[in-house]
Assembly symmetry: C2
Homo-oligomer: 393 residues x 2
Amino acid sequence: MGKTVYLDYSAGMPTDKRVVEVMLPYFSHEFGNPSSLHAYGGPARTAVETAREQVAKLVGAPDLKYIIFTSGATESNNLAIKGLARKRADKGKHIITSMAEHMSILNVCKALEKEGFKVTYLPIDKEAFVSVKAVEEAIKDDTILVTLGYANGEVGTIQDIKAIGEICQKKKVAFHVDAVPAAGRIPIDVKAEHIDLMTISSNDLYGPKGVGALYVGKGMDIVPLFDGGGQERKFRSGTENVPGIVGMGKAAELAMAEMGAEAKRLMALRDRLIDMVLKAIPASHLNGSRTKRLPQNANMRFSYIEGEALILNLDMVDVCTSTSSACTSKTLEPSHVLRAMGISHEEAHSALLINLGRLTRDEDIDVMIKVLPEIVKRLREMSPLTPKGLYKD
Amino acid sequence: MGKTVYLDYSAGMPTDKRVVEVMLPYFSHEFGNPSSLHAYGGPARTAVETAREQVAKLVGAPDLKYIIFTSGATESNNLAIKGLARKRADKGKHIITSMAEHMSILNVCKALEKEGFKVTYLPIDKEAFVSVKAVEEAIKDDTILVTLGYANGEVGTIQDIKAIGEICQKKKVAFHVDAVPAAGRIPIDVKAEHIDLMTISSNDLYGPKGVGALYVGKGMDIVPLFDGGGQERKFRSGTENVPGIVGMGKAAELAMAEMGAEAKRLMALRDRLIDMVLKAIPASHLNGSRTKRLPQNANMRFSYIEGEALILNLDMVDVCTSTSSACTSKTLEPSHVLRAMGISHEEAHSALLINLGRLTRDEDIDVMIKVLPEIVKRLREMSPLTPKGLYKD
């Protein structure tokens, strides 16, 4: 692909070479089943438990047994929300979430509404923050679960999870957090932040796709999605994906070791990009909070153009970006997150989602700063919406 | 592990080197999200569709779109049975299966009973066959689904799937088949055998763990287990596990190309093992059908001893086997399959599950034929159950 500038780390991430390396023996030699009694079972069992500990450490889980391996973030979100709701249905049927969550939260909530649950979709403010006070006020006697993203995967805004966790603990409501874009990027401590259930994705830690984890904290009981052999504390039956789990463990270990320096590095790259773009392009805006923001995320919009045309034009010069979450990129609707922030339908259509990652270098930002203003200008020249005099030349 | 003789291919299987090789680029370079619009999405999308076609061909699926990728056999069984049952609940709540299915069938049926479904657990005969006539007679007006294994994973017996499929089609009842131990080992044709839904495991094809497929045939509609981004025809949300899917596709292609020769080779090895063991060990028995049997499977029992002691003693001389399915090896109960065949509790405890595989050679069988009679004899000498004069020396 030549010298492609890849700035779409939220859609797909490479598996770190150091991760692939530790996975390989589990394909070819150590292919045992952790449940087997003979010599082949042992190394597989040990490897899975090591990975469990690595993931537990990353998020401050007080015991490795609280980590359940799944097939990824979507499964973890489904397992947490449906599992908790179905388990506690006799105690109440009210769930609280926000309007700006990932589709694997929102569509799960919609599915549960069909099962008779009631869901409150809290609004977000113009920087995508969920109001802590609104969460508190929404909790009623029959509320069993609050489910929110640790940070918004599209606009990068980091919520005040600890404050919400304290409220949930006080009100005895289970608190599920989708930490997919946040885990491994910023410090998370499930204990200190009073999180009961938390979704973690392997690929978002530079681990392999097809594996994820769910933190199922003390006292939490959930109805499994899969019945079968009773693996993973009976919460998730199915033969363990040993190479995948080993890879996720290694990825968690690397993320933990490198998080501080990497966050600092990415924030510097990100801020340079944001500052230069805002300066170079008239009628350009940053979506989401400027300060409480994921280090890797820069979501911007450029009035009067279509984000889709923008990413296709960027693709033609080998720059990969998105308009919004890859999971919803096939629809023609603008991002529900931007709409919930109060951004107009038209303006929401002009968004560009940029996610930096472990392989992003200064040169990539240089390319972006060079090509983006040119492409935006060209597209605006073709757009009937562009006001005269926007460009003063 | 030295020269280990691995005869436990049903518990865990190595991923074929040729499979790992085609997976590797999808970890490091082609890490795109198939849903992305830019250049990185394309190769991932193409790779997933190629794999879908490879799996479709293996089982005679009339269109590649009928193959849905999942995280493995347990998910596929859960998705098929729960998905179909919940979808058709308004048409009827009766399901038919057999007493000898895998735990991911039986425990799913038990979970559905809690949701108000009624399940008929058909008996099996002493060779583990499900009676075609019994299936026909069990179908009532409110029957919505028949779910059976293509072949029994423990005792190797191959069912008359085509005859059962014809009945289901005639009676307009959906037919789900768990083909995990059969797919890739013996020819399967979902169309000719009137199968509506079919579970396939990647690892059982010498593909990677953590990936599987569900054939969802024409006109079949199911309620998804995962809600989210709507991938896989909305039947299975979640970012595609591209390396895993690519690996499963290659494994299916290899299995298809090599199935005939490999089945012949394994049957010769298996039959030599069975014949020699039956001859060398008094009071030894083959469990399951001698003729309609999976090529790789030899399940035997040796009266008066404990299968568990036997596998541990075999392990001490570097021979890996099981007592029954790895998924149930942690329980102390004897195999439910053997019990359903009418074998006594005590005799069922004396079973040894042997599964040959792609790396099994003549020398492995030679070792087994040498060590097994000695170990069985030694264990019997310690057993109070062994009748005097069993060994005439």
